[in-house]
């Protein structure tokens, strides 16, 4: 069935809603929630890394200017 890939409830060619959607099983939902938590942690870690590197770079540059 071609609509099986129609994950967002819209017919891909006609652009109209079909009402079809992917029904996640409770196990899939649970696994997704856990993955989402780790993705969030990864994004926070990335933000922290960018922040720390910015501080280091700024202090190095400031040191260079002062010196």
């Amino acid at each position: 069935m071609s609509d099986q890939n129609d994950n967002f409830g819209f017919h891909h060619r006609e652009g109209r809603a079909t009402g079809e959607h992917v029904a996640l099983t409770p196990e899939q939902e649970k696994a997704r929630k856990k993955r989402n938590v780790y993705i969030a942690l990864g994004l926070v870690a990335f933000m922290v890394a960018v922040f720390l590197v910015t501080v280091v770079r700024l202090s190095q540059n400031a040191g260079g200017v002062a010196g």
Partner: protein, 332 residues
């Protein structure tokens, strides 16, 4: 049937989706954590040994990016090799053949992490290192996995370069350039890969044959492989002395290289004199499971990991812990 009735019928349908079942540990398994740990270690060595000092934060970010890039390569490798992994007992339990993660999910995961690690390393550390990491991922996934692995028994000789790049990336992350010492670190891992991989292939040759992968024991036979292991081991052990000549390695490294190299050669000679690889694969899929005749190959495989780790640990001890003692008349 009216349009409204048809819409109602459709709205009650739900597409079945087999994905989305992967747990966090399944995704971690996709990153090949065992390989990743070796990459982290060797990249750290490159970063530590590079001249000058790198800020700890920048160093940590660089190592993290290199590790994630290596993991992404592993995920893409598992995506492409899912058909092979399903056949081989050693890899049958990996997340894709085990049905825990779909190939599409692994592909998306690998590409996302590849781009993320390269861009982050480029933006936060330096773009030479970022480009080098991108090239390494390209080399491992495209050159090794997609091209060489299934087409030539020299697959791991050439493809081994991908596993040898991490200390160079670490070095470039610290200095922004490549030097002779960085190339020496690369060469040590490059020469180490064939005897290490072929020792494993000897006692898992049945696995590789079943999967149609032309590893050396499958394509050229066990006897030829045992000879090549010995020859590569000899070249490796001799070359492992190079850091002493450039002054990168001191007395502790020289002693480790000599003692470790002698044992490496002894084990390689034991493999050469054995009938390893002639009995097919071990029946069980575990990495170290082995038939009686293949023990010499298994021992060399296990020892080779310790040998490489010891060489690099000696360099870290000398440069990071102040244990460096120059050898008069040899090293600077």
């Amino acid at each position: 049937m009216s349009l409204v009735e048809r819409q109602d019928m459709i709205s009650q349908e739900s597409a079945v989706w087999n994905g989305g079942m992967g747990s966090v540990s399944d995704y971690v398994a996709l990153l090949k954590p065992r390989v990743m740990s070796l990459v982290i270690f060797t990249a750290f060595v490159g970063l530590m040994l590079a001249p000058g000092s790198v800020h700890p934060v920048l160093g940590a970010v660089a190592i993290l990016c290199i590790a994630i890039g290596a993991g992404a390569s592993g995920a893409l490798n598992m995506w492409y090799d899912a058909d092979i992994d399903e056949v081989m007992s050693r890899t049958r339990k990996r997340p894709i053949p085990a049905g825990k993660i779909t190939p599409d999910e692994a592909l998306a995961f690998g590409i996302t992490l590849s781009i993320g690690s390269v861009v982050t390393l480029g933006l936060l550390v330096n773009w030479f290192a970022g480009a080098f990491l991108a090239f390494t991922i390209f080399f491992y996934v495209i050159v090794y996995t997609m091209w060489l692995k299934r087409s030539t028994p020299q697959n791991i000789v050439i493809g081994g370069a991908a596993g040898a790049f991490p200390p160079m990336i670490g070095w470039v992350a610290a200095t922004g350039e490549i030097s002779l010492d960085a190339v020496i670190l690369f060469m040590i891992i490059f020469l180490w890969t064939p005897p290490h991989s072929w020792a494993l292939a000897l006692y898992k040759s049945g696995d590789y044959a079943a999967a149609g992968v032309p590893m050396m024991p499958v394509a050229k036979g066990a006897k030829s492989t045992r000879l090549q292991i010995l020859l590569y081991s000899l070249v490796l052990v001799v070359f492992a002395g190079a850091p002493v000549l450039t002054g990168l390695g001191g007395l502790a490294y020289a002693a480790t290289s000599l003692g470790g190299g002698a044992l490496f050669l002894l084990l390689a000679l034991r493999v050469f004199n054995s009938r390893a690889g002639e009995a097919g694969s071990a029946e069980e899929g575990e990495l170290y499971a082995v038939r009686a005749g293949d023990k010499a190959a298994r021992d060399l495989f296990a020892y080779s990991i310790g040998y490489l780790a010891a060489l690099f640990a000696a360099l870290i001890a000398e440069h990071g812990l102040g244990a460096y003692l120059a050898i008069p008349g040899v090293s600077g």
